[in-house]
């Protein structure tokens, strides 16, 4: 104990430097998070705030038995896996192309490719939703002109969930490309030359040199994308508001609905428990990988 106190005193300046950030975060982040968790243990409803009582885990279990909640969680899983998967595969392919020696003007393409990723996600969603409008959108205009029937991208009970993948993959692919390309560039050419001398085919070189070299970056990338996609709210809300019906409801859009449309803030906080637990698990792996301290 004395040793710890001594060490703290010796490095007291560190605590000083940390104080501003920590103080701010205490009030706007850590405090509210704790508050939120406690809120999930009450039946707080904004329409009758004074009649709040502590209910423990009753909310949590009630949510677990709620089929709308199941549906939202399931959609979240589907959405996360698909976006991460498609983005990664497409991104891998494109970054391999970008890395090909025979391509000129690489930095030009690199900047161009990043544009979908830097645009505000909500704006991406709005832009795509205009293109995907049922009767007046550009895509349907083209489809009809070519003789096909129009597709109700954002209003179809069964298929909308798949269609909203398109804009989101569109914006995620560039990020994957950039990360993988940066790593690809660093793979030493000697490895490939030696392999060619030893008679390896291009495909074998890909399997036994390229892929293993990409393993570490890919793991970090995939985990990061899973994290970002699992907590999504803004794009789905802007595209479909969880609709039509509940078909595109995701974990956080469900939480929003319960919190700010039904004003059951206690329930909403409790409904966040499961997503947060999952995020924490993924996050733990992610932090482990990224901070090899």
């Amino acid at each position: 104990m004395k040793k710890i106190l001594a060490a703290m005193w010796k490095e007291r300046i560190a605590y000083l430097e940390l104080t501003p950030a920590f103080l701010l975060l205490l009030f706007v982040a850590f405090g509210p998070v704790v508050y939120g968790i406690i809120l999930g243990l009450t039946d707080f409803n904004l329409l009758r705030p004074t009649q709040t009582s502590f209910v423990g885990l009753k909310n949590f279990f009630a949510q677990l038995l709620n089929s709308r909640y199941h549906h939202a969680l399931w959609n979240t899983l589907f959405y996360t896996v698909c976006i991460t998967g498609f983005s990664f595969i497409a991104g891998l392919g494109i970054s391999l192309m970008l890395n090909a020696q025979k391509l000129r003007a690489k930095s030009f393409f690199r900047i161009l490719i990043l544009i979908p990723w830097v645009i505000t996600p909500v704006v991406v969603a709005v832009g795509w939703s205009i293109l995907m409008r049922n009767e007046y959108g550009f895509i349907n205009y083209v489809l009809i002109k070519w003789g096909f029937s129009n597709i109700n991208f954002l209003g179809d009970l069964e298929h909308t969930l798949k269609w909203i993948l398109v804009p989101m993959v569109w914006r995620s692919v560039p990020f994957v490309i950039i990360m993988l390309y940066a790593r690809l560039k660093g793979i030493q050419g000697v490895l490939y030359e030696a392999a060619t001398v030893d008679g390896a085919t291009k495909w074998q070189q890909f399997l036994y040199i390229t892929l293993p070299e990409l393993k570490a970056v890919s793991a970090v990338l995939v985990l990061y994308m899973c994290l970002m996609n699992a907590k999504v709210f803004d794009v789905i809300w802007v595209l479909t508001m969880g609709g039509p019906g509940d078909s595109t409801q995701v974990a956080m859009t469900y939480v929003y609905d319960v919190a700010f449309q039904r004003w059951q803030l206690g329930n909403a906080a409790a409904a966040s428990y499961v997503p947060m637990m999952i995020l924490f698990v993924i996050g733990a792996f992610y932090i482990r990988l990224v901070e090899k301290d």
Partner: protein
């Protein structure tokens, strides 16, 4: 590594064509929106159409008929203020985490990182109640405070990683020369890290600029809304004062600051991303 075999020109063409197709696919939505925005509102009233010659009328009308100016102002001011505040506290915190070994170091760092894992909307629930009690709803200050919840962790993490790559000796020699710690930070650490700080500041700026969930929950007044909120509001409207041309113009114009920043920092993006996202 340039081998010149005669048969390889096919591959070259193939790759270039493929690359162009991919860029075209990535750009087709933006191009359509661009074309729509460069059309007169009447021509694109029903959704798809275009004017020839292109006209800036939709863009002009956007600024005249809609609160775009307000939205842009709010977005930029809030993002700038968030970055300034967050940067000041984060540089100090990152320096502490990078340079000193003190009890609780890992705990502090991990708890800051954990903030990344909290969905913005979950945070929005207690913040909504707290701000409501303190009169911070519908205020820019409230939003700035709320934005620091994700800006500070981001900056601390990135800056810490960066500072760890800078040799300690420079700071130590400054201390030997008589500088106290604060002077060391101001005159040595910051100038050294300046390009990295610049790139990270831009990312942080964009993070705040893009924010939707917290803004949606904590602000309901038009006059304090930001660009993403406005985008959502006007997307559904196709009444006679806002046409598809204007909505398209909206999306194009809100993309200008990010694209500008992209051009400014393209060199650092790759370095910054890979350095910050892990020593993988």
């Amino acid at each position: 590594m340039k081998k010149k075999f005669r048969g390889e020109w096919k591959e070259t063409i193939g790759i270039h064509v493929g690359m162009i197709l991919i860029v075209a696919a990535l750009f087709f939505p933006i191009s359509i929106l661009l074309i729509t925005s460069l059309s007169r509102p009447e021509d694109v009233q029903i959704g798809w159409g275009w004017s020839f010659p292109p006209s800036l009328e939709s863009h002009i009308k956007l600024w005249q008929d809609s609160p775009m100016a307000v939205y842009a102002f709010n977005s930029l001011v809030i993002a700038a203020a968030t970055v300034v505040i967050a940067l000041s506290v984060s540089i100090l915190a990152a320096h502490a985490l990078a340079r000193y070994r003190f009890p609780g170091r890992s705990l502090v760092f991990v708890s800051i990182l954990t903030l990344f894992l909290i969905p913005s909307l979950f945070l929005g629930i207690p913040l909504f109640l707290m701000f409501r009690a303190y009169g911070l709803l519908d205020t820019r200050l409230g939003l700035i405070l709320a934005h620091s919840t994700f800006t500070i962790p981001f900056l601390v993490w990135m800056l810490k990683n960066y500072m760890e790559t800078v040799p300690k000796e420079i700071e130590e020699s400054a201390v030997i020369d008589g500088a106290n710690r604060l002077q060391v930070i101001i005159h040595v650490v910051i100038p050294l890290a300046a390009p990295a700080i610049f790139a990270m500041a831009i990312f942080a700026f964009l993070g705040s600029y893009h924010q939707f969930a917290l803004n949606f929950v904590l602000v309901t007044e038009e006059s304090l809304s930001t660009i993403p909120i406005g985008a959502m509001r006007y997307r559904g409207v196709s009444g006679d004062w806002i046409s598809f041309g204007q909505i398209a113009a909206y999306t194009i114009e809100s993309a200008i600051p990010p694209i500008l920043f992209l051009l400014l920092t393209s060199k650092y993006i790759v370095q910054g991303l890979t350095a910050g996202f892990g020593k993988a």
